[in-house]
């Protein structure tokens, strides 16, 4: 999911479809990567309007433009597969003049059905201007840390409840006999929160709003 902020004046001149159609067809993405919204009819985007700052925050599966998509793809790959930190609690800032500059924090969620029994996610704040991003370090990092902590707390809470209900035992057997292959699982399913992406959108919008 990618949340972007736009000036209201500019966004009004653009066709909403430019953003809405930026989402890839559901068949192109696996369940793990899909943006799932709690609506009965298919929806592709989440929008929040901030009247005070005249900013509009739109979250979609992918960025709206090709250049941003290309940059974000590279950033995501670096954040999840290249850059390394000694633990999951520390953020990392990296960037260049082609992909932009990012502060990322990677976190893992335990899932017995996943390969390696964990799933890796990253919260990434990307900006065009290196200086402005770096100077916002504390605000960004505090937001990242806190939101990841809340997600992990939620997972811990669910694990506890599963342990109480002994549902973990069956999973262990399945894994031990290797009967089940690793399967795709969406974050909403892991956290058992259908509105999770709405919340992530709100969190990102709030952060972008504060940064502006």
């Amino acid at each position: 999911m990618c949340t972007q902020s736009f000036k209201a004046d500019n966004i009004n001149k653009l066709d909403n479809n430019a953003f809405l159609s930026s989402s890839a067809p559901s068949s192109a993405t696996c369940l793990s990567c899909q943006l799932i919204l709690p609506t009965s009819s298919p929806s592709n985007a989440i929008r929040t309007i901030d009247e005070e700052s005249h900013l509009i925050f739109i979250s979609t599966q992918y960025p709206s433009s090709q250049s941003r998509y290309r940059a974000l793809r590279q950033i995501v790959m670096k954040a999840l597969s290249v850059e390394t930190t000694h633990d999951g609690l520390n953020p990392i800032m990296f960037g260049d003049s082609t992909a932009g500059y990012s502060i990322t924090m990677v976190f893992k969620i335990k899932d017995s059905t996943a390969r390696g029994s964990e799933r890796k996610y990253a919260l990434i704040i990307t900006a065009e201007d290196e200086s402005e991003l770096v100077h916002s370090w504390s605000l960004v990092v505090e937001n990242l840390r806190e939101f990841i902590k809340l997600i992990k707390d939620r997972i811990t809470e669910l694990e506890l409840s599963k342990t109480m209900n002994n549902t973990e035992l069956m999973d262990n057997n399945e894994r031990f006999y290797r009967r089940s292959l690793p399967k795709s699982k969406n974050l909403t399913e892991l956290l058992e929160d259908k509105k999770l992406f709405i919340k992530i959108h709100l969190w990102a919008s709030n952060l972008l709003c504060n940064l502006n």
């Binding site: 909403n16 479809n17 919204l37 390394t84 000694h86 065009e128 201007d129 290196e130």
Partner: protein
Amino acid sequence: MLDRLLNNRSSSSSSISHHPANSVAQDLKMTPITSELNSPILNSSIPHQHFGKYEHQNYDDAYTRTLLYGTPNHLPALPLDSNSCRIVVYQDGNIRSKQPLFDSAIQFTGSTILNQQQQQNINFKNLKMDNSRYHNLAELSDYIFGCGVPINEVSTSSKLQVLPSLPNTTNSILITRLFSLNQTFSNDMVIENNNRDLDLENVEKWLPNPTLKIGNPSNSGKNCTRFGIGIVLPINPDLIETVVTDNWEEYINFITSIETSTVRKLKALCSTNPKFCSNIQSCDSNKRSLCFPSLILQNDHELHQFLVGVIKLTHSISNIPRLLVGMKRSNTVILNWCHYVATWLQLKDGKNFGSSNLKFLASLFSILIPIRYNLLFNKPSDKKKEITRVVIMTGNPMVVQKLIFIISGILPDDVLVTKNHAYEEEILRSYELEENSESSSSPLTTMSNENKNHKEIGGNNNIKTNNRNEGKNLNLQDEIEKVNAEEDNDDSSSTNTPSVSSYSKGWEIPKTTSVSLATTSTPHASLTVIKPSSSCASLQCLSSSFSSSYNASSWKNHGLSVLEKWWTSNNNGNNNTNNYMTDSFNTNHHITNNVNNNNSKPGLSLSSVRTPSPATEYEDYSWIPSSLSNSPYTNHGGNNFSNFSNFYNNNQRLTKTTSQYDFSSVSNNINSKYSANTLSYLNRTATTLNSDCDNKTYQMVRDQCKAIMKSDPEIYIVENGENNNLVDVSLEDIFINEECKLGKKNFNDKPCPMSSNLDQVVLQAMRNDLQNHQLLKSSKPTTITKTIFVSLAAREIKEFTIKTTGTGTSTSTNTASGIATASASAAGTTTPSSSSQHSALSAALGRAKRGTTASSGSSSNGGLVSSNPTNDQLANHNNNNNNYSESFNWNLSNSFKNVNRSNTNLDSSIHYSNNSTPDPKTTVRKLFSPKKNCIDDNYVLKIDRILDKIIDTAKKINNNNNNNKNNTTTTTTYESTEQEAKKASADLELDTFKSIRHLINIMFEAGNQENTA
């Protein structure tokens, strides 16, 4: 006074414990931490030093600290273990091997100097590295280049991450720079011209904007070898914002310097040994074009110096205290400011001595006021073209601090406090405390409740009508006209500056025995009774005006022992006849050779420890009023003239007790409510205020995140065709009872390091300005950097200007070095006075570098400006250029308009241009000197008049307090009369402060008019 003395004792004893004599000797053995205004000078050969030893050495006393920094406490220094700092240069040979070319952590166990042949065959068994302090090479290369999926990148990238802790070091920070090179070494600095307007066309574009715009290799990455430079700083991650991210431009600039140096060296290696790039011949796409042996640069001296540089840079950034700006909000500060101005005018400028008035301060104000709004604000996204720096050079750190305090009064604090919430909150809280303390100790009201008091005592307007009228009926335009009219009527001309050659007499400081003067004059308004007297003793007298004591132990007690030692050794080497500093430090810590021992009273040695000895001002401007008989002060104490002559002739030294201007009298006097002791102290560090704003901000972030996660947001579906629905959700539903906006703390004005070779450093800083400015703001074709160079000893103000008109869109590094060469030659020929100053002290008020000291973010408004009396030069006593640099940074940027006005002396302008690069031009112009004033006389006179008025107005407060004191002693029976008198007094005081502020505003307004004229 007692308070101050007691404080002195306590502080001195603590200083003694910090600086025993043996530690001084230890310190002196250390390599000087010299550094540049912008980037560190790399002139030390010892990479690892414990720089934290300097943290206790402050040249300012508690009183000055309170005025300048808002706290009397020594500001804690950053706990930086310089031994754990590290610089590495890696080469990404291929997927599996990443060779270090240079690693400051590695030490050879065998021969320390290897020739090139040996370097190519390094036996790694001979390498030694403390693994408990430094991360191993493989681990560090993973952090620098990344691990896991190999990617092929060619663009220059930067990285910031936290390293894990090691047994002998806590967590550390890694700043990484990655760049690619091919066999052509074509990593040119390409100036990109990004139009970053967020218009409709660019809404969809992605235009990254690096801190320094250094382009990619022209050869699109084919056969490029990737190199990585890493700087490891042993800094707690909690301090990453204070040290690193707030100063990101500094570090990026620094690491770019390392990159430039590395590329140059690798290129030189390739030229001497072609086999390092022999892989080009193979045309194998999998092979790198460049492949250097491991540790090929290990013995490179310059890279080792960079390590010293980064330590100095970090220390400068973290430990130079930022100056507190916000004078006009506090009555105490404003009155202190008036006192300092008055003292300066009388003692340093020779005010009230007829034609001998230098009008130096007025001239300096006339230069700085028009640019005062440009002094503080700077941020990376600024598009300003001009960078301005102010450098003050004198022989006494105390004097320059007084001048810094005076200049801080013209800084635009109103803009600061309105834009910086954290700062405003803290300042307001501070002054509220001040108000409370004052109101509890005195019935008189203070500035903070002006309006309230004005209503309460409105019926007493008839009391002291003259003063009230002068205070209340001030109209800005009227006042300006009034000042102008007075100027017209004034026969004295500022052009009659004294001739240095004719000076034969100095000043006399009245002794404290003149009781009548002490009771009628105000310490703030400085009704001084300085008598023209004999020759060079004036210098000591001037020093004594700032509460000086001659006793050498006072230096030591204030942690100045190293400075004292430096002075001592310095003076020994130069045999200056006017120099009273001797080599007696090692024996009894007294400066006694030229000092009458009668004055070496042990009792004073501990108590009068505020400021350095008057002897330290030996190089101050030695001027004498041309007409003694015209002195208005002759009638006040003519007998003091002879007393002083005798005093000087007997080689006696002035002590605090003989000083008319001893500030300590303030605290013990009726004006104690306006002394610095009554100021509320800010809880701060060297660079930030320890306010609750941070905690509140973080708590708010946590609360907001929790609110979002625990909420059940309502969503509204906006149908937009089939399968394209839009979900609307509002933040307000969640934050209905919470603040949505967060405040950010920002104190981002950066310090600038120091150097022993000031003029060279200034010009180097200016050259860096140009280079970085071009890299930062490439869209601007013309770049101007200016430095206002103030030499207090010679009473000269010079202006250095380097201007370049960019003709192309790219500037190569070679071109930049060409600029450097040209400018360096200019410095050597045009500023001999500064470099020849004996034991000069310099203070750099400066925007260090456009690109390197820019403040953070859009809301970055420096509430604090750095000011640092550093000790970096102290161990430099063997150097002929014994300049002590005190440097601090006001982000002096942008325009320097109309400073050289109608009387600009073009004859004194010297233009330099480089034939190879005709664009950059260095101009050195003398704006002010005792003989010649190139500033608009009318404007200087106007400023001078206004300063006089400010001081005169300030006197009323003291007179009022005097009257109050008398009243309280006499009117004890009639309470109602007493109440009325108090109200009237408060009313008068209120108006007086209003008048002072109004006059200051008039002065600023005059500057604005000059600026727009």
